[in-house]
């Protein structure tokens, strides 16, 4: 995975530099659209944080944005995220006289998909900050691993994700750039029946990635 990301970063940097050398100097360009591929770190919040308290760097996000009018963009985000934590030895008692003591491991696997609207400030500059809102859903699997046993529940949800971020071109005329964004996500997803109850799972995400900008 690291090799893929490294290769992608070097490839884009080289391509961006070559292209910027070919163009005459000017004040830059206004993109018509751009695509992003980001590494996503998740910070669980609220009850979700009691299920898994660890921040998790296991996540990726693929997005596309299309300029509608000046700085206004519409697009999509597809992702993959996972949060996990080991809780050591714990004992569970059943009602039928059963009891199990084993290492307890919890994780949630998420596949978010959202439509996005955002407003870019200074979309023709090298650094273009934006405010956005994602509206969509998630497919989530909540797993409780008790040694060899895998107890899990799957749920779909509705989600809202306000986001602030910035598109940073590698050069005035480079079609490659970086993306840095931070968002808060509220969902209707919940965890029940896995020795834990959480409703309206919430989290924050830090996204750092690369973008390909189309004129």
């Amino acid at each position: 995975m690291k090799k893929i990301i490294l290769f992608l970063a070097v490839f884009m940097l080289i391509t961006g530099m070559v292209q910027s050398q070919e163009k005459p100097a000017s004040l830059g360009f206004r993109p018509s659209s751009y695509y992003t591929f980001s590494w996503n770190t998740t910070f669980t919040m609220g009850d979700f944080n009691k299920w898994v308290g660890n921040a998790s760097p296991a996540g990726f996000d693929l997005g596309g944005r299309y300029f509608i009018n000046h700085g206004l963009v519409a697009g999509f985000n597809l992702g993959w995220q996972r949060v996990s934590q080991s809780y050591g030895y714990q004992t569970y008692h059943g009602t039928d006289g059963t009891a199990i003591t084993a290492t307890n491991y919890r994780f949630t696997w998420m596949v978010p998909f959202q439509g996005v609207i955002a407003y870019h400030l200074m979309s023709d500059k090298m650094v273009s900050p934006y405010l956005g809102l994602g509206i969509g859903g998630d497919y989530m699997e909540h797993h409780l691993l008790v040694q060899e046993y895998d107890l899990y529940a799957t749920r779909w949800d509705f989600s809202l994700t306000p986001e602030i971020g910035a598109l940073l071109k590698f050069g005035f005329f480079s079609q490659w750039g970086a993306l840095v964004a931070f968002n808060y996500k509220w969902t209707t997803n919940q965890i029940e029946g896995l020795d834990h109850t959480s409703k309206n799972l919430q989290m924050c995400n830090l996204k750092i990635g690369l973008s390909y900008i189309i004129r």
Partner: protein, 211 residues
């Protein structure tokens, strides 16, 4: 441009689909010891006052079975006895009849996976010991026993049977425990003995009061 766009999309999709749902560190869970217990919820453990422990550990490896009396086996049996005494039961020896019998079995590996009533833990040809004075008697389960689908990870089983009230030619199992994971990780004798203690700790109903 189209090629670059397809490239970033393809790499993105490959990266996402290549990511495993299960965290890599979750794979080591089976290396840890686990303690499973189940007891007969209809049993009143205060009805029983005395116990005997079979003085060896039955050992099953595939279709072969033998008995163990080495230091590790004795430590295991002593730990079981110690826990029974701490729960108020009195150990008896010799020809004295006991209310409860305990049998400890270690299983290294087997491909037999299905529990079948009448056969001890589903091992055709292997019978529980008749050491406590009921030769030819089989085990009966008043409840669906705790069991696992394979014993390839190293397992210690402890069965507590009712010698006070045999039903026909069957002694009923009132409590059973298994400790698994002995062969998948590196575990000391102390770790295993702690698991024996844990099996009793997680069964608070297994207690009696002496009168």
């Amino acid at each position: 441009m189209k090629t670059k766009l397809l490239t970033i999309l393809a790499i993105g999709m490959i990266a996402m689909t290549s990511c495993s749902k299960y965290p890599p560190s979750s794979g080591r869970l089976t290396e840890d010891l686990a303690v499973y217990t189940k007891y007969d919820v209809t049993a009143n453990f205060s009805d029983y006052k005395t116990f005997k422990v079979v003085p060896y550990v039955s050992y099953i490896n595939g279709k072969d079975s033998t008995t163990l009396t080495d230091a590790n086996a004795m430590a295991l049996l002593n730990e079981v006895s110690k826990n029974m005494v701490s729960r108020g039961y009195t150990a008896v020896t010799g020809a004295t009849k006991a209310d409860l019998g305990l049998n400890v079995t270690a299983i290294k590996n087997t491909t037999t996976t299905v529990y079948s009533p009448g056969w001890y833990w589903g091992y055709p040809g292997y019978y529980p010991p008749s050491w406590w004075g009921y030769p030819g008697y089989g085990y009966g389960y008043p409840y669906y026993p705790t069991y696992i689908s394979s014993y390839s990870t190293g397992t210690v089983l402890i069965d507590l049977v009712d010698l006070k009230k045999p039903v026909g030619n069957t002694v009923m199992v009132r409590w059973n425990a298994y400790i698994r994971g002995l062969l998948t990780g590196s575990h000391s004798q102390a770790d295993v003995l702690k698991c024996v203690d844990q099996a009793f700790i997680q069964t608070p109903a297994l207690v009696t009061t002496q009168k």
